[in-house]
């Protein structure tokens, strides 16, 4: 396995943020993202996903360290204070780093 180091950002936040958050991530250079629907509990109380107003999402972005630091800084400044949100960063191994790093050119590597 020819592995390379990569960085994974996981953001758990209110589902209503999805459109704006995703637009920001892409604008700042993310080459992709993956979202799943979740529920949970945190400092802002219970989010039981009974209806759209109490649902959470879990967003994952793979990238290199520099990209993830940019994303974390932006998300923190822009959303962390006012929205239910938690984020964490994990070092992982990836297969083809070009897929997450190259900015221009849309070839599916």
């Amino acid at each position: 396995m020819e592995a390379h180091s990569g960085t994974l950002l996981t953001i758990i936040c209110e589902a209503g943020l999805e459109p704006v958050l995703v637009a920001d991530l892409v604008r700042l250079g993310a080459r992709g993202y993956t979202i799943c629907d979740t529920r949970g509990m945190g400092s802002r109380g219970m989010r039981d996903a009974l209806w759209e107003g109490s649902s959470n999402i879990r967003v994952e972005v793979l990238g290199d360290r520099a990209l993830i630091e940019t994303l974390v800084a932006h998300v923190h400044d822009r959303y962390y204070a006012n929205y239910g949100m938690v984020l964490f960063v994990t070092e992982v191994e990836v297969l083809r780093p070009e897929k997450f790093l190259k900015r221009p050119g849309e070839d599916p590597s």
Binding site: G16, G45, L50, E52, G53, Y83
Partner: protein
């Protein structure tokens, strides 16, 4: 007991399930599906009725209804900041929720009148659509003032293309285009099942309301009092406006119900993006935890009585 509305009983069942921590839980996909069908059905029904009315005839009344409707946020905001000592964004957001309307409360009100055999103007749905929006704009203005940088285009998009207005307006247009004949092949789903679907929806609303009651403890007594007093005040405004515009007793009841209802679909979504500093637990706790159950169980009959009283006095 023959006079209780099934819809109210299902709501109570949902609240009971929530409070007793039963594992009754409607899948969120069902909740979303039911709300889509309800929005379309209400729109279609309104559109079919609208086809019977000359549009010019209701243009001026519609304008009046919207302008008078702005009374709610304009009264709510100073009450919340001065008496309630809420922070500016919180007061503005709550005001926006109460200025906007609840589609489900409207549907329960209409079902209530239908059950009692009280007729109402078919074009009330148009007012429903028109009333959803302006209060949200007022809320943003109250929160930020007119000078602060607000992304008005984004807000306009958020509101106009929001699920709730889009499906209501879409249904209205389709109902209007098709008319009563054209709609017939699809009325089995949208009209015949309407009341049954509403019971499922209110079961779920009961569960959601029960879950909100915790938020209420944090929010305190003032907000609970506000959640009951505000709709009563707004309903008086609605009843008088309805009578003044020459609506029937049924139409007047529904206008009072609209004014009294507080949004919990369009408003939370719009306020969360436009006024992020506002704490949603306050506005949703009040609108879903207090005002929605109050309106469903007690409010609607009261507003009906109001409408009869105003018409009695006036006429």
């Amino acid at each position: 007991m023959g006079s209780v509305d099934p819809v109210v009983l299902f709501f109570v069942l949902g609240v009971a399930a929530g409070l007793l921590r039963s594992d009754v839980r409607l899948p969120s996909a069902l909740y979303e599906s039911l709300s889509i069908v309800l929005l379309i059905a209400i729109g279609l029904k309104g559109g079919v009725e609208l086809a019977k009315t000359a549009l010019g005839e209701i243009a001026l009344p519609a304008l009046a209804v919207v302008l008078m409707g702005l009374g709610t946020p304009l009264v709510a905001y100073p009450v919340l900041t001065r008496l309630g000592r809420f922070r500016r964004p919180d007061a503005a957001s709550i005001a926006a929720h109460y200025g906007s309307v609840s589609v489900v409360t409207f549907a329960v009100g209409a079902a209530h009148l239908t059950r009692l055999g009280v007729p109402f103007e078919g074009y009330m749905t148009v007012f429903l659509v028109l009333l959803e929006m302006p209060a949200l704009v007022a809320g943003v203005l109250l929160a930020k003032g007119i000078h602060r940088a607000t992304d008005w285009r984004a807000l306009a998009h958020e509101i106009l293309c929001g699920k709730s207005i889009f499906l209501l307006a879409g249904g209205l247009a389709i109902g209007w285009l098709l008319g009563p004949e054209g709609i017939r092949p699809i009325d089995r789903l949208y009209f015949d099942l309407f009341k049954g679907i509403l019971t499922l929806f209110l079961l779920e609303m009961g569960l959601i309301t029960a879950a909100r009651l915790q938020d209420l403890k944090r929010a305190g007594a003032f907000l609970i009092a506000f959640g009951i007093a505000m709709p009563l005040v707004s309903a008086v405004g609605g009843a008088v406006t309805g009578w003044w515009l020459g609506l029937s007793v049924g139409g007047t009841t529904l206008l009072a119900t609209l004014y009294a209802s507080a949004s919990y679909i369009a408003a939370p979504a719009a306020m969360r993006i436009a006024v992020p500093e506002a704490n949603p637990a306050l506005s949703i706790g009040a609108s879903l935890g207090v005002t929605f159950p109050f309106n469903i169980v007690l409010g609607i009959p009261i507003y009906h009585a109001m409408a009869k009283a105003v018409h009695g006095l006036g006429g």
